[in-house]
Amino acid sequence: MNYTVRKFDAVIVGAGGAGLRAAIQLSEAGYKTAVLTKVFPTRSHTVAAQGGVAASLGNSEDDHWHWHMYDTVKGSDWLGDQDAIEFMCRKANEVVVELEHYGMPFDRLDNGKIYQRPFGGHMSNFGEKPVRRSCAAADRTGHAMLHAMYQRNVKVNTQFFVEWQALDLVRDAEGDVLGVTAMDMETGEVVVFHAKATIFATGGAGRIFYSSTNAFINTGDGLGMAARAGIPLEDMEFWQFHPTGVAGAGVLITEGVRGEGGILRNSAGERFMERYAPNAKDLASRDVVSRAMTTEINEGRGCGPNKDFVLLDITHLPPETIMKRLPGIHEIGIQFAGVDCLKEPLPVVPTAHYQMGGIPTNYAGQVVVPKDGAPAVPVPGFYAAGECACASVHGANRLGTNSLLDLLVFGKSAGETAVGDLKGNAKAHKPLPQEAIDKTLARLGRLDSQKDGASVHDTRLEMQRAMQKHAGVFRFKNLLAEGVSRIHEIAGKVAATEIKDKSKVFNTARIEALELDNLIEVAKATMVSANARTESRGAHVRDDAPDTPETPDGRDDKNWLKHSLWYREGNRLDYKPVHMQPLSVDPIELKKRAY
């Protein structure tokens, strides 16, 4: 198979929020920058983010980055790195104001300042009371953000390669990253993007689960590429689940439905949340509700022929309230559950929503790996930002509106660091290692010549069902252990998938097979890391982690206050310490997370 080589100063993979923000930095500095993206930039999954972006602007009431930092550390269940969290919270105002200058149409107060609204977990004065910290553009924040940043990139001459599938990271014998291999979907042509700086901004891998709120494009491409190139994946056991996704479809039903009086019921019609959270009931926090729902299903009180969902009932509410206060819910019920929610309850299940772990980075956006006894040594030429990266600011649980902040701050930071490194490296590009390119060609060749292999669709479904069953919202020792063997068995099938269509032009079957190669790496990392972590922390909750005075709610700081690192080669785990020391303030001391 033939390939061509194109040289750039920097190549960025992914054109969602993080990729676009990084690209601005490089192009503005005058570096020749290529952005590869498998869909048009303004169709990246950042579009789906509605809530807003957190920044302690204090436009409506007193606020401070230190309070925001406290909330984020506590939200992370102390697994977040406190230096990275301080960095993010301190940079928030700057990146939001920059975005405003790029033309982002934020909602305004009467005095012209950016309007801010409260959001779960964001408090003033170190956890005292809710604070207005989220900056939004109606319910289109992510969408407006992408538009503003895309326009800015066009202005500064970023070169976009739209509808290109990145294939593999190119790493030489010294471990330096020298670019990526990629395929032009339009022609099937393979190109090596030879670069001095490579930034991954490829988003999350929510599609490893059967029930996911994520769009189909979220296949963890950057994570798969990194894992195949010997980079470990960090904290992959931590996935945020939203309690109310439509069963079977995954489409999100906003928390506002329970806020307006919606009730969760089991197969006996019982309002089961009364047993789990007698005060807050259906409005208890996301993880509490998700766990209660899972317990009901696991104990046989689920609904439907397979007893695998519970019901969200709003039939007791006046129809005019539903239509007025919850627009869209009626339509979602009809479209995705075949249910008129004015007359019948909606089938719902806890649904995978956000990946807290990812490619290990520091707050400068550099990808870091253990080397010669040091836990976090930068990989020359390699950077990552956004949901694909683990800085780690979300730790074991992310707060709402911190994801858009993450991609702005660390997108910019990765871009800035790359600019600094490029300035210090006026030398020619290092020579490309043929071996790395051959690996890509062999992978494509295998796919084209495979006979009697497994179907991509069926194998993906098998993986998604296994992840949902064995590493879902509430985790059980035996199921996790079985899950590890099961996922390796499925990985064997992924390695031998077969596609019938061998055409070159927009061959979606080939793309889906390549995406599955990436998904399976994330699935293995998740299952293996979750099986090994024998405590409960944030979004990772196990039935066998005892609630004792030393391990409140199952959190075991003595043994597990550390980041997991999963390596593809040898399916091996390693660990590294959590950064408890912030940049300029005192550490936020460990305590039980309670709201």
């Binding site: 339509e331 995705f336 061959n507």
Partner: protein
């Protein structure tokens, strides 16, 4: 000709990969049902719809907004009728 059609359909299919899960699910079912009998007029209408931003497209598919173009309306009705609820 058949090769050309296949390439066009594949391109349209890829353009149905959207930022919102709601739309991905609708298009998934659409192709299952209509791939074999999508005519040139249908292809053109679909192509035009796929140029829209995701939120605009979802507003049309979910019936919150309407179009006065009868060609587009016909395609939107097809998308609505194949919504995933059909399986429940």
């Amino acid at each position: 000709m058949e090769e050309d059609r296949k390439a066009r359909i594949n391109r349209l299919k890829w353009h149905c990969r959207r930022a919102l899960l709601e739309l991905d699910l609708v298009f998934d079912r659409f192709w299952e049902r209509y791939e074999s009998d999508l005519d040139a007029q249908g292809e053109a209408a679909l192509e035009q719809l796929l140029e829209l931003e995701d939120h605009e497209l979802w507003a049309l598919v979910s019936g919150r907004e309407a179009t006065d173009d009868p060609r587009l309306q016909e395609m939107i009705e097809r998308l609505r009728e194949v919504s995933p609820a059909a399986d429940f």
